[in-house]
Symmetry: D2
Subunit: 334 residues, 4 copies
């Protein structure tokens, strides 16, 4: 299977390495990046045969079976449309799009072309979360009542480059998908969000939102809380909890290994400092599954409707902050 990569940034680099070395039967066919030299540098590094600045080149290449989209979020929808129209299977990083209209256009193209679309909600592939979901599916946990999903980044971001709703569209969107993943069959109906600039209070007046808490009501009565902050002193922190009628699953211990050192300052365990350190396995696994999906071996594990559900919550959360009140999913068109 020949896969082209669109985007050679941080996640693109990781995916390039996975496609090249860690996923049996897959070949990195081409790299696309509009920045001068970026694609060819990466293509050389990983032995890809082609490098382009325009994605049209890979869509036109009949030997390319699939594309992995790791470009900035604002280009996702149009890239999905173009890829689908070219008949390529698509793996797209989250979010699928930044508006429901764009996303629906993309999903329409996918449906019409009958191509595969998988969305990069990687947390579903982290062993802890997958294990929790199994407990729900097999009835061990009982009907979910309360859920929690947390993402805290390790900091070091540039406040000037953070678009206002980034915390909802790009960070918490993982948590919104996680809440749905852990409450299968239920739909979000109402969202209330509180957000602020607590890491960089001096940017508050310029609209920065670096910390947020979002309450999500589902139609089965369950209530989820998603919480994010752009800076945690101890590293990258991704955790979750689902509490149901028969018990609770907690996910995410954040440790890099099982070694514990007991010394003069007490008992110390190392914590993960980056997403690629903590979630490396999940980043590989989602692409490995995608390869199997393209081969027809597996159904799409997380697709367009999942992207739409998460985006709807993200838009409602942003709206809730603007209005200072709970927002119904219907109000944002979701």
């Amino acid at each position: 299977m020949r896969v082209a990569l669109i985007g050679s940034g941080r996640m693109g680099s990781f995916h390039a390495e996975s496609l090249t070395y860690r996923i049996p039967g897959v070949q990195l066919a081409a790299v696309v990046d509009p920045a001068p030299g970026a694609a060819s540098r990466m293509a050389t590094a990983f032995g890809a045969s082609a490098a382009y600045t325009d994605p049209a080149a890979v869509f036109a290449d009949p030997t390319v079976d699939a594309v992995v989209i790791a470009a900035p979020a604002r280009f996702h929808a149009e890239l999905i449309v173009a890829a689908a129209q070219a008949g390529k299977a698509v793996f797209c990083e989250k979010p699928g799009a930044l508006t429901l209209a764009d996303l629906d256009r993309a999903l329409g193209a996918v449906a019409e072309a009958q191509v595969v679309l998988q969305v990069g909600f990687n947390r579903r592939f982290v062993p802890d979360w997958a294990a929790a979901r199994r407990l729900i599916d097999d009835g061990t946990l009982g009907t979910p009542r309360l859920l929690r999903s947390v993402t805290r980044d390790p900091g070091g971001f540039d406040p000037a480059r953070v678009a206002p709703d980034t915390i909802f569209n790009e960070t918490l969107i993982h948590d919104f998908d996680t809440l749905s993943f852990l409450n299968p069959g239920a739909r979000a109906v109402e969202v209330f969000a509180v957000a602020d600039a607590l890491v960089e209070p001096s940017w508050r007046d310029r609209g920065l939102l670096d910390t947020a808490v979002v309450t999500v009501r589902f139609d089965n009565g369950a209530v989820g809380v998603a919480e994010a902050c752009f800076e945690a002193a101890y590293g990258y922190d991704v955790r979750g909890e689902v509490f149901g009628a028969k018990g609770m699953a907690t996910m995410g211990d954040g440790r890099v290994d099982g070694m514990v050192f007991s010394g003069s300052s007490g008992r110390v365990a190392a914590t993960a400092r980056s997403d690629q350190e903590l979630l490396a396995g999940a980043y590989v696994e989602e692409l490995a599954v995608f390869a199997d999906v393209v081969r027809g071996l597996d159904p799409v594990p997380v697709g367009g409707q999942d992207a739409r559900a998460a985006l709807g919550i993200a838009l409602a959360a942003a709206q809730s902050v603007r209005l200072g009140r709970p927002v119904q999913l219907g109000e944002v068109g979701a």
Copy 2:
């Protein structure tokens, strides 16, 4: 020091035992309970010299130095007033009262009589929470940004006997106080609550609220989430988290001991099944500190203004559920 106990129910019994056996220099002087025979049975069991059905008897007894109020919540305010007017030091179970007007009347009587009033927010005396607070006080944790406080009861409640706002006034009030305790110096400004009957859905139409999630905004920007459910399959679950600029403290591991059994079903640790199992130490400690407060050795660790802050959040939460929108603390007179 001679202490009279008002109320011989579940918590009253525990306090009777603590006062009799676990707190040096304290004597259980009398037990009061209006139920026929209840006070005398407990007095006999613990060797208290007197038993009454009317609390006026202990207020009139000049040899009684202090009273511990463990009567139903609706009687708290008037008992505090009477005790204060009689010049007794007062330890009162939470909540201090069910309305701010009642509470203010009680606090006024306490202020006028210049007696001690300590409120039974026991979580402040659990070692984990006390340790977290120390990390805040000494600057290790940095300014709080996000907080969480969870209470889940082990179930077995009678839906018919649960007053509508019980989950806020009697359960979550602990969590509301905990949020304030872990965000010292800040004041709650806005509350949004979601609540439902998820344990007993058939009681939903009769107004039962057995599960709730409450978002509390503080005037320093920090956001707290308090969460409760009246039934957890694994027992009594009290946990907390405070995340600040320099790190995060997590509290409450819910285990009854440090023994872990690894067997055919994996690795298993026993969880606490009741509050008195999990928090026994804190229940004793709060009374031990109260005794020292009465002796003039310590300042009141948690008093009338703390009771007022927590009650204000509870009332705003109940109002938020009724109105379906966030409620400012000012709206409920807090």
Copy 3:
């Protein structure tokens, strides 16, 4: 019940506090210590009515029901004999004696006088260990195969004051008893010990043994390892493990509370720094049970034969170090 305390050192002080404040129905009747002023200082501090330099005084006092012996180990045997002859119930700190001959003499006196003798093997009263034993008694764990018991002290000892076999007679004797406690019904048959001065290597030539590993074979085939060191950089460390046909129990997490701080140096939990911090509950519990034993409510939970079994292993271990080979229990007369 009136209890006299013999010995006002570190453990004596702790026991004085427990007897005075934490054990219902018990009264600290007298304190004995040969050091000038020591007994009277402690008697005053805890409100005991009498203080003596000679234990004969308490043995002669008909109002004393029981004695707690917390004197140096070399005096234990003769104090047990005298107490028994005076008809007093006896709680004696470990070891019961320093030789089997002395211990047998003490046990003979106890048997003849038909008094209670309980030995201070406190680890049996730590919740983790008690819980592990329940798993053995109820068949959950299966027949023990491998056991481990660890004691590490927090350091700060004076090498000049450590008698050669202290690590066996006074430290590891707890672990030897623990191994027997967790392998009920079995008897030790062979001991192999390795010991050295690793904390204070410069004292090696003077015979200091500050670190030791002891292998104990039991007659049911199970093998136990007991391990001690006089200095651990992270505090006081007491742990255990018992692995049987159906699973494994691990005991002792060494934490002072359940609070965990995640900060720039990772995830940190505080560790106990002293035995009285880690084992306070067990120290109280063993005396509370002793009080119930004296009242005739409970059988002796750990008595003379347990003391003999542990001492036998300790003597064999010391002999094994001297001979450089495994030693049969029979060789030391056990």
Copy 4:
């Protein structure tokens, strides 16, 4: 790099998969197995170009750069010799040989041919253990005093097929190497072993040893305990501990993921049930490093002298069981 695999059993299969899919730049050139059809089945499954029943074929193939030896232990030495003489780089599963004479012969051939020899002590590549070693190398842990290494297999073995010293030569040899790895620069000087048939007592008379405890003294005074059992009810259990002057590292939490379920039976975490489940990453990592060693990028991480040190302890342990006394390493020629 073209690598031939000798042996297509359980570990051979795992290595075939790693060489094919998980190690960049490596190609599975051939599979060798004397059992009819075994090599060709595996070659077909993994797309290897050749399959042989005689290893001479790969030694004769000039396009083969390296061999991975996963044949039964009794063939290791002669295979190493033949591979070295053919100029192939060698990765050999543990133990390097079953006698020191055989091993020395193999090491001599390696030295003469100046080829790479890496031995399959995988535990050095498990993150926990590697992290512990870093704490030793950077001085954080201080001089090691006490060490522990545990291996418990999940059971299901056939007593009839277990050679008498298997527990030492094939199981505990990992732990013996681990003790040396965590006490760098020190040499074992004395070994005392206790072993028995506790899993299958009815095989005791036929010489089965399924459970063992081995005490190893090192020339720097440190004492290590290695412990193994062929059956643990909770799965595959590999743990370690190294306690030094400045602290303690513990390794191996045995969990398959970080998800914890709290339900009616308490708090439950899943445990690993097999070595390939628990140590998959280390099995891949040791081959990835081997590939880099062959490329000249890395020094041999664990080689012939390490194999010799571990084998010496294993032989001394077996001898100690036969003689019932501690055995000096010199006694077995190590």
